[in-house]
């Protein structure tokens, strides 16, 4: 099928849900406001009318209940796609996530797996009050048994979501809401998947490898374009899957350049940049010409919107980080 439509990221998510629900009757959606309201970000718009209340379920405001119910459904053969309205509200369901969602396969020695995909809009930059701008993918990356996927483009959003839904194991699918509507892209119509665990090279360059994901991909590319004018060519790698990381892509990109920068909006300490730095140390020390630079959020609770612009990495801050790595 070579037909495409121009969709925003959230429209692509919706299209992904719709397509998978049509392909497989076991797929269902549950969460707050997903049914009759069509989702507060319109991610489930029209699904209720199309598939009915049995497959598009409006739940009470109870995250542990949403996750727990989904765990049960998945254990018994359904393919639930629970939505938590903001990733900052996953915490009330954290116990269900780590104690059960992550452990079913191990607990049952493979007898049961949980083909569930927990979707949540995540990340900041939208002028929201407390709890609505979290970027704590590191919590889930640290839990074996969970996959963590973060798309940065509409086409990847649809494809990775479809792949997550089809995956027999649980996936945490975080959607960067800052760029939900920031741009449109041609998205293939009909069933479309993108492999989990594979990074994508967004830009080629030989001077430094810059690793990033989610909403930070755009300012990183902007920084790379600006630096190209000064003769610094960046290889920009969009990780797309945070857990498991595409170690091969990371090492390959690093070996080709000898320098690396990692950009994420999540706080610095214990963030994915630390993990990537460790991988580089283990696998490619001899290629290293400079310390890995981390351009990240700060080790503070996510600020309210008057300070939001200082917290998030901007193209300028990313450029500084890259320049640091290149000039070492």
């Amino acid at each position: 099928m070579s037909e495409t439509q121009n969709l925003t990221l959230v429209q692509a998510v919706r299209d992904g849900l719709y397509t998978e629900m049509r392909e497989d009757d076991d797929v269902l959606v549950l969460g707050q406001d997903v049914g009759k309201n069509g989702g507060v970000f319109r991610a489930t718009e029209g699904l209720f009318d199309e598939f009915g209340g049995d497959r598009v379920v409006d739940t009470p405001l109870a995250e542990s209940g949403i996750v727990g119910a989904a765990v049960g459904m998945a254990a018994m053969g359904l393919k639930p796609v629970p939505e938590i309205q903001f990733s900052g509200f996953m915490y009330p369901g954290f116990d269900q996530i780590v104690s059960h969602m992550a452990r079913f396969r191990a607990r049952s020695r493979g007898r049961y797996t949980l083909p569930m995909t927990l979707r949540a809009p995540y990340g900041g930059g939208i002028r929201a009050p407390e709890h609505h701008s979290e970027s704590k993918e590191a919590f889930y990356a640290h839990e074996a048994g969970l996959k963590v996927v973060i798309p940065s483009t509409p086409s990847d959003a649809k494809g990775l979501l479809a792949a997550s839904i089809r995956d027999p194991d649980p996936v945490i699918f975080l959607e960067p809401k800052l760029i939900y509507r920031a741009f449109r892209e041609a998205v293939p119509e009909g069933p479309h998947t993108v492999p989990i665990g594979e990074a994508a090279t967004r830009r080629e360059g030989e001077d430094v490898a810059v690793f990033t994901y989610g909403a930070m991909t755009r300012p990183t590319l902007e920084a790379a374009e600006n630096l190209a004018e000064e003769g610094i060519e960046c290889e920009v790698v969009d990780l797309r899957t945070i857990s498991p990381l595409d170690r091969e892509a990371i090492v390959e990109a690093f070996e080709a350049t000898g320098r690396a920068v990692v950009v994420h909006e999540a706080p610095k300490t214990g963030g994915l940049a630390a993990e990537i730095t460790a991988i580089i140390q283990e696998e490619a020390l001899l290629y290293q010409e400079a310390p890995v630079t981390r351009v990240t959020g700060f080790d503070v609770p996510y600020p309210l919107y008057a300070l939001e612009d200082y917290y998030l990495p901007t193209a300028a801050r990313i450029e500084e980080g890259i320049t640091e790595a290149v000039e070492f």
Binding site: F86, S133, K177, R181, A182
Partner: protein
């Protein structure tokens, strides 16, 4: 939107869906650009909803009624009754069809439509307020923008449109009953078109104009014909007078007060007062300063020949960008803006923009008049054909007026045309094409025109310019 502010990104943001905006949006989408069109009121803008289209509908309706009622000389005896309410309903139907059509065309071309009122936050962001309670607002971040917010009638202090008896042109085009006496302040093209319309609908029309003649930018011989015909229709003209105020009349109507420059006062008894003294750009609430856009001292946005404002990635088209304040100029500008944004070498390089006045008789002009050609350094040669020498004109019963062509003596290039008479608004198109193509007067004269048509007069005028007209005496 529950919490937070997620901006929508777009490549081209068009503000205003009038003939400038919707055309620009469609062309931009055709060029493959992600385009968003914001409109706060109705698609098609003033042109479709309160201007060009409604006025032509009423002009046709009133014209038809008048025509039929005055055709005894042809052997047609009739005394038509006009149901104004029904005419307005029909007019509304036409308007709805057209605005619906604009919406469909936009969607079919992939333009994203947003309803609301836009205002600039900075030179890359716009806030759109959705009308109505609880509807909130959204942010749109754009790479390029086209401002096409149009114009609105100028309101004279003391003559606020909010009053029932003070009409703007929009009110005049929505009136369900014909007033007995209509006072019109302003003898420009809007005032004159409506004067003719209402005179034909049976109103007693009085036109008050500050200058000493109607239709200021046109040549004397053109104005004279239109004025005389209006007087024949019963329109009363008072020149050199400016509206100074109004008061309630003893008879339930109103008294329109005027004053000359010397201070002489006059009063006219009217039932409605139509104020048609010009149009001003619509920019309030748009906050153009936030984007760094510059306007001139009358509020028009300044643009260059590629429709760019002081901010390179923001364009302005149509009435908001100033003269010529014509719908077709807006559309042309809209197309140029979209193509410039798409990286094409487009520019406003048209040699002339035609204009039409739908009075009785109609006026259609394009390019230079004889004296303009002279001032520009050409050596003009002029050819003319009066409609009273046109066979076709005679068979319509309308023989007032003429076709005049102006050309350069040395090269023969057609420089301009002025047509007064039946279908002048249509006939002028040929002259416009001649100018754009760089046709010579010989080319026009040598082109065979169908007989019997009014268009033949254009050919004859060309022949006349060459001193070899068949059907008129050569100058």
């Amino acid at each position: 939107m529950v919490v937070g502010d997620i901006a929508t990104g777009t490549e081209v943001l068009v503000i205003g869906a009038g003939p400038g905006g919707y055309v620009a949006a469609i062309r931009a989408a055709q060029k493959g650009l992600d385009t968003t069109l914001v409109e706060k009121d109705a698609y098609g803008g003033a042109c479709l909803n309160r201007g060009c289209i409604p006025s032509k509908a009423l002009i046709t309706g009133s014209g038809l009624a008048h025509e039929a009622g005055n055709a005894e000389f042809m052997g047609v005896h009739a005394d038509p009754a006009v149901d104004m309410g029904q005419m307005i309903e029909w007019k509304d139907g036409v308007v709805d069809q057209l605005t619906g059509g604009v919406e469909k065309l936009c969607k079919a071309n992939g333009v994203n439509l947003v309803e609301g009122t836009a205002s600039f936050v900075d030179d890359r962001t716009v806030r759109v307020a959705h009308g109505g309670a609880g509807q909130g607002s959204e942010s749109i971040e754009f790479e390029h923008a086209i401002v096409s917010t149009g114009s609105q009638p100028i309101q004279i202090p003391g003559f606020e449109f909010a009053a029932d008896h003070i009409w703007s042109s929009a009110d005049a085009l929505d009136a369900e009953t014909v007033p007995d006496r209509l006072g019109i302040v302003g003898g420009g093209y809007i005032g004159m078109e409506l004067a003719t319309t209402y005179a034909k609908l049976g109103a007693e029309v009085t036109v008050v104009e500050m200058l000493d003649d109607i239709l200021d930018p046109y040549e004397d011989d053109v104005k004279r014909i239109v004025r005389k015909r209006a007087e024949e229709l019963g329109v009363e003209f008072h020149f050199g007078e400016g509206a100074s105020g109004w008061s309630e009349g003893a008879d339930g109507g109103y008294l329109l007060q005027t004053e000359t420059e010397e201070g002489e006062e006059s009063t006219y008894g009217v039932d409605k007062i139509l104020v048609a003294v010009g149009r001003q750009p619509v920019t309030d609430g748009l906050d153009v300063e936030n984007a760094g856009i510059e306007t001139d001292d009358r509020g028009f946005i300044e643009t260059d020949d590629r429709t760019r404002t002081a901010v390179e990635h923001i364009h302005a088209v149509g009435d908001v960008a100033g003269d010529p304040m014509l719908a077709h100029a807006a559309s042309k500008e809209g197309i140029v803006a979209a193509e410039v944004i798409a990286g094409e070498p487009a520019a406003l390089d048209q040699q002339a923009i035609p204009a039409a006045v739908f009075t009785d008789p109609e006026i259609g002009t394009v390019g230079m008049t004889e004296s303009e050609a002279d001032d520009a350094g050409f050596d003009p040669v002029v050819g003319q054909m009066p409609f009273n020498a046109s066979g076709r004109a005679m068979t319509t019963g309308h023989t007032d007026g003429f076709v005049r062509l102006v050309a350069d003596e040395e090269t023969g290039f057609v420089l301009g045309g002025q047509i007064v008479g039946p279908e002048a608004s249509e006939l002028i198109a040929e002259v416009t094409l001649a100018i754009e193509m760089g046709a010579t007067i010989e080319d026009v004269a040598a082109t065979v025109h169908t007989h019997p048509t009014l268009a033949e007069a254009v050919m004859e005028a060309a022949e006349n310019a060459q001193g070899q007209a068949i059907h008129t005496l050569n100058r």
